[in-house]
């Protein structure tokens, strides 16, 4: 194919409506806000899994950050605001809860993965809220006894912190932590399923997406916890970092990255074999190289993997901090690739679209991220993340 006919193909072989969906030049329907959405739900699921390792499975190493992980998970529950502000009619967003398309009928065939969101989100939000309250209840009771304060009194639920009550609290938290794992996993995996259910986009037809999303969720969640733990310990009076804990988190990161990369290699390998309609594969290769993101993404992944695989580097706090920061960038790049790239291939599989970030999208993204920070600060202000009972530093036996 000579250059001229190639360029003509590139420019003309797209459907007329694809050129100006929503009058957004380029033709991408879901932009950066929908990239940030799975990024955030991944962090929710990842940090919740780490907290459940402590509260659910009694892994003593992680008690120190389990409370912090829960608060992070709680603050990140603002994630659905990303797709909400992307809606053309955001004021109707509640219809997802009140009028969900989950019961197939003659008039409304099929079940919408997006509607399942409402059910899973509400269930997970309730479990998470109750778990947070019962995790910090004893600490709040102690605080109320020492300092008073209306918030401390409310969240102590009017009870004290003697042994029997704390034991009962821990039993409740354990149950919720175990129930929460499948809920958090579903909440995140459904986002992957949402993409892989769009059969009109050949590059999204990939059953590995939900599993890959989960693996990279645990990876990014534990990376975020390393960063949060580092910052919070330096800010607190304690100052000394628990190297054992950081080593453990590094191990989780390493294994989840290995699983994620393994799944990705399977996906890439099978994609090079199955043929896209038309000249799709050719355009796919062109698309990937043109975006210029795949090479840096793999380079970064290999660098992180090396940093995690060498035990001396993994146990070095500063290196682990750097690795965690890089890990967040790597996962964001993966989300970018998995959400935007498939939309850039035209439905004709013979032409390419393009994506230009709009200023409004950027402002909305920054707004939601800022709101998440605000919610997190409020949560940390209300609940003592390193409280004596929440981190199981009391003499009580672990239930």
């Amino acid at each position: 194919m000579d250059l001229m006919s190639y360029l003509i193909d590139l420019l003309l072989n797209i459907l007329p409506n694809e050129l100006s969906y929503d009058h957004r030049v380029g033709g991408v329907i879901w932009g950066i806000l929908i990239v940030l959405y799975p990024f955030f739900t991944g962090l929710i699921a990842g940090s919740f899994v780490v907290s459940s390792l402590a509260y659910g499975f009694g892994n003593k190493k992680y008690y120190k950050i389990a409370g912090l992980a829960l608060l992070l998970s709680g603050a990140l529950m603002t994630a659905p605001l990303f797709p909400m502000v992307e809606l053309k009619q955001p004021e109707r967003a509640t219809l997802i809860f009140t009028n969900p398309h989950i019961f197939p009928s003659e008039t409304y065939p099929g079940v919408s993965p997006m509607a399942v969101f409402g059910v899973v989100y509400l269930a997970y939000l309730i479990v998470l809220a109750i778990e947070i309250i019962f995790t910090f209840r004893a600490d709040m009771a102690k605080r109320y006894e020492e300092k008073g304060g209306i918030l401390n009194r409310i969240f102590s639920l009017g009870m004290g912190y003697d042994e029997t009550v704390v034991k009962r609290d821990r039993a409740i938290v354990k149950t919720l932590a175990l129930i929460g794992i499948p809920l958090a996993a579903t909440f995140h995996a459904y986002v992957g399923f949402l993409f892989s259910s769009i059969k009109a986009r050949p590059l999204w037809i990939d059953p590995i997406i939900p599993a890959h999303f989960l693996a990279s969720a645990v990876f990014s969640g534990s990376a975020l916890l390393v960063i949060a733990y580092y910052i919070f310990t330096k800010l607190s009076s304690e100052k000394a970092l628990d190297v054992d804990l950081l080593k453990g988190l590094g191990g989780i990161m390493m294994w989840s990255l290995l699983i994620a990369m393994g799944l990705e290699l399977i996906s890439e390998a099978s994609r090079t074999y199955y043929s896209l309609p038309g000249e799709g594969m050719l355009f796919y290769e062109e698309l990937i190289s043109e975006m210029g993101i795949r090479t840096p993404y793999y380079a970064l992944s290999i660098l992180i993997l090396v940093l995690l695989l060498i035990p001396q580097l993994r146990s070095n706090v500063k290196v682990l901090m750097l690795t965690s920061l890089l890990a967040l960038v790597q996962v964001f790049m993966y989300r970018w690739m998995s959400v935007l790239t498939p939309q850039l291939l035209s439905r004709t599989a013979m032409g390419l679209l393009e994506y230009n970030i709009e200023f409004l999208e950027l402002r909305l993204s920054i707004g939601v991220v800022a709101l998440t920070f605000l919610v997190f600060i409020i949560l940390v202000w209300i609940f003592p993340w390193n409280g004596r009972f929440a981190t199981h530093r009391d003499e009580l036996e672990v239930v």
Partner: protein
């Protein structure tokens, strides 16, 4: 007819009984087949409106595109129907009109989270503008690129087969405007409609059948490369 037979003792009685049972079973199977045939016909949704497009007759005048935009207030830059132009290896130019395929198994309806888009009693896929939240899932999942955001209404939009016209006994605007009669609109449920006759007479093709959407626009002489 009764299955019970008093004379079960003798061989004759048993044989008669067997013949009776066998004939009853055969009858039941036949009736069952008949019912399933009837059911297969009944599976057509109501009148099951569809369209036949003769690609050979289209010469790309865009009358249908203009008529549609005029009839349905379609804003500039988006299209409920459009015409694609293909040049064959022998230099022959072919025009292919395209629009929503009003699929029998529409993937766009599957993914709508709020029941805003639906299939009506005659098989037309429609959108309820008062419910649509504008998430774009249906636009993503239409294999034909027939859906778009209406920048004026702020909701998803697509061809409705001019449902406001056809239930008044009129033809869709594009069909009425076509000067060559390349588009034929009608009901598949009516055996003697022009549409049914055309589909029975000519060999027809449909777009992207691999999606399993069961599109209901039947093309005659569709070039292979236009099947995208």
């Amino acid at each position: 007819m009764s299955l019970k037979n008093g004379d079960n003792g003798s061989v004759d009685g048993k044989r008669r009984d067997f013949i009776k049972k066998a004939s009853l079973a055969t009858g039941l199977i036949l009736v069952g087949t008949k019912t399933s045939l009837v059911r297969a016909e009944e599976e057509l949704r109501g009148k099951r409106f569809a369209m036949f497009i003769d690609v050979e007759k289209c010469y790309g005048c865009y009358s249908c595109v203009v008529a549609c935009a005029h009839e349905n207030n379609v804003p500039v830059g988006v299209f409920r129907t459009w015409i694609e132009r293909y040049v064959g290896s022998n230099g022959k130019v072919v025009f292919v009109p395209k629009q929503c395929n009003q699929c029998d198994d529409p993937s766009c309806v599957y993914v709508c989270p709020v029941n805003a888009t639906y299939v009506n009693e005659d098989g037309i896929v429609l959108i309820n503008d008062d419910i649509c939240i504008g998430c774009g899932a249906c636009i993503q999942n239409c294999p034909y690129g027939a859906r778009f955001f209406n920048p004026v209404k702020g909701v998803a939009d697509k061809c409705t087969f001019c449902s406001h016209r056809i239930y008044q006994g009129l033809l869709p605007a594009c069909v009425e405007a076509c000067p060559t009669g390349a588009r034929v609109f009608g009901s598949l449920a009516e055996e003697d409609s022009e549409l049914s006759r055309m589909i029975k007479t000519y060999k027809t093709q449909r777009l992207k059948t691999w999606t399993g959407n069961e599109p209901q626009i039947y093309y005659k002489d569709l070039p292979e490369e236009a099947n995208v």
